[in-house]
Amino acid sequence: MDRAQVDAKIRELAEPFNKKGVTITEETTFQNDLEFDSLTVMDFVAEIEDEFDIIISMNQQAEIENYGQLVDAVNKLQADA
């Protein structure tokens, strides 16, 4: 999978969590723009993990603030897996 495909897949997974229908760009932040609380983060991360068969540890999650960073991280993790 290339980055564009990873991006498309994550966008699809994010949709049900994007309650307010915020337009997602590379710079969209999970906490401020999407207003994800800790439980939403857990469910969203679990969906991505299951989809790509990877682990995004909390240590890695702590480095991810915006959507672009998430796609980069998942892209790298799935390539390494």
Partner: protein, 418 residues
């Protein structure tokens, strides 16, 4: 508790002046929430003072005799005459405190006897006593799981577990509460040769629900993980010998570490870890929250040791506590309250409130009618629920449980939630 994954609040204050922003600004939201609640005339639920404690189940609060249904005094040991006497004797014989670390001048005869009592209680080879249960989790977890190791843990783990994870710098991988499949999926994806520690709790204290330890421990072992179980809320009560959910589920021999506390059923303060690991004793030298703090006072370890030995023979009390738990659960449900578990699973019964406002109002009505319970609110609660947490004691009589139900009925009707 889920606060381990809550993120620091980064919202800008609406009118940020250079002068009024400092390191405390990050608390502005919680200050506002609290002030908003108190402005409605609500009694502060987090500022209660017990003026006098009459027994494990009764105290004077705000000048009123109150039934205690929100302590962790599950086995009612705090006023046990033998336990009190042991403390008095140790105070007289050994003084008020050790003024030193366990590894220097802070290990007295009493600390050794307390560890011996724990080894006997659990029938395990090693026992290490810490100054609190919080420090036991902090110390053991951070010391055994370091950089490059993986910790797989339940998302609803206690704050002390999260803090231990953070302190050790291991890779932290949470899974959905009590979800065996979610746990297995994550274990499967971790590099095979990496060090792995699975952390579970016997009883989760917010809803009073029990973990499926039989299945979970088997899965952890299948993937070569070490297993640590925090039995803070089950010690003395669950299992034929009160050793916890690990005993009840028949997996005590498969877990590597049990963490516990003296601040609940044992009835004093302190924490511990028991283990059969052959190298366990090295922890005493490498575990910083054990080394760099003063040991427990002699009176505390004496009361703990006496209490632990008495808990070994507590089967009648255990049976009565189960009766209380069942009666309260059924009674509350019959009154129309929504509870945290379908069946009573522990000595904790959580009553789910519609929101914080009504939860706080109900808490106040209960205390005015002479009943103390714990109010729990987000972010300490799962799914951001507001809970009235009832924790029973083996010393609550059947009549007292009936009285508790009457107070719930009266208060619930006053507030209009039943």
């Amino acid at each position: 508790m889920s606060e381990g994954i809550s993120q620091p609040d980064q919202r800008e204050p609406i009118e940020a002046h250079a002068g009024d922003k400092d390191l405390f600004s990050k608390f502005d939201d919680i200050i506002a929430l609290r002030e908003g609640l108190l402005a409605t005339g609500q009694t502060d639920p987090f500022n209660l003072v017990m003026e006098k404690v009459l027994s494990p189940t009764r105290a004077i609060c705000n000048g009123r005799e109150t039934i205690l249904l929100g302590t962790y005094n599950y086995m009612g040991m705090t006023f046990d005459p033998d336990v009190v006497e042991a403390g008095k004797q140790a105070l007289a014989d050994f003084g008020t405190g050790t003024t030193g670390s366990r590894v220097l001048n802070g290990t007295y005869q009493g600390h050794k006897e307390c560890e011996e009592a724990l080894r006997d209680f659990y029938e395990m080879d090693h026992a290490m006593v810490f100054s609190t249960g919080y420090q036991a989790n902090l110390g053991i977890i951070s010391t055994i799981a370091g950089k490059g190791d993986y910790i797989i843990l339940d998302i609803d783990s206690h704050a002390s577990i999260w803090d231990g994870c953070a302190m050790g710098n291991a890779e932290v991988v949470p899974f959905k509460h009590n979800d065996i499949e979610a746990m297995e999926k994550r274990l499967k994806r971790i590099p095979e040769d990496a060090g792995k520690l699975v952390i579970l709790e016997g009883v989760y204290s917010m809803l009073g629900d029990v973990a499926p330890l039989k299945e979970m421990v088997a899965v952890a072992k299948k993937y070569g993980a070490m297993v640590l179980v925090d039995e803070a809320h089950s010690m003395g009560f669950i299992g034929d010998n009160g050793r916890g959910v690990v005993e009840d589920a028949g997996v005590i021999d498969d877990v590597d570490f049990i963490i516990g506390t003296f601040s609940k059923s044992v009835g004093t303060v302190g924490g511990f870890c028991v283990s059969n690991h052959p190298k366990f004793e090295i922890m005493r030298l490498v575990c910083r929250p054990y080394v760099f703090t003063a040991s427990l006072p002699p009176s505390v370890v004496a009361t703990a040791a006496t209490s632990i030995r008495k808990l070994m023979h507590g089967s009648n009390k255990r049976a009565h506590l189960w009766e209380n738990s069942k009666n309260l659960h059924k009674g509350l449900r019959d009154l129309g309250f929504k509870l945290g578990t379908e069946e009573p699973q522990s000595a904790i019964i959580a009553v789910i409130m519609p929101d914080l406002q009504q939860g706080a109002a109900m808490w106040e009505a209960l205390i005015k009618n002479g009943l103390y319970v714990n109010l729990a609110r987000p972010p300490a609660t799962p799914a951001n629920m507001t809970l009235l947490r009832c924790s029973l004691c083996a010393e609550h009589s059947e009549e007292e449980v009936a009285q508790i139900l009457d107070i719930f009925e009266k208060s619930g009707k006053e507030i209009g939630i039943i």
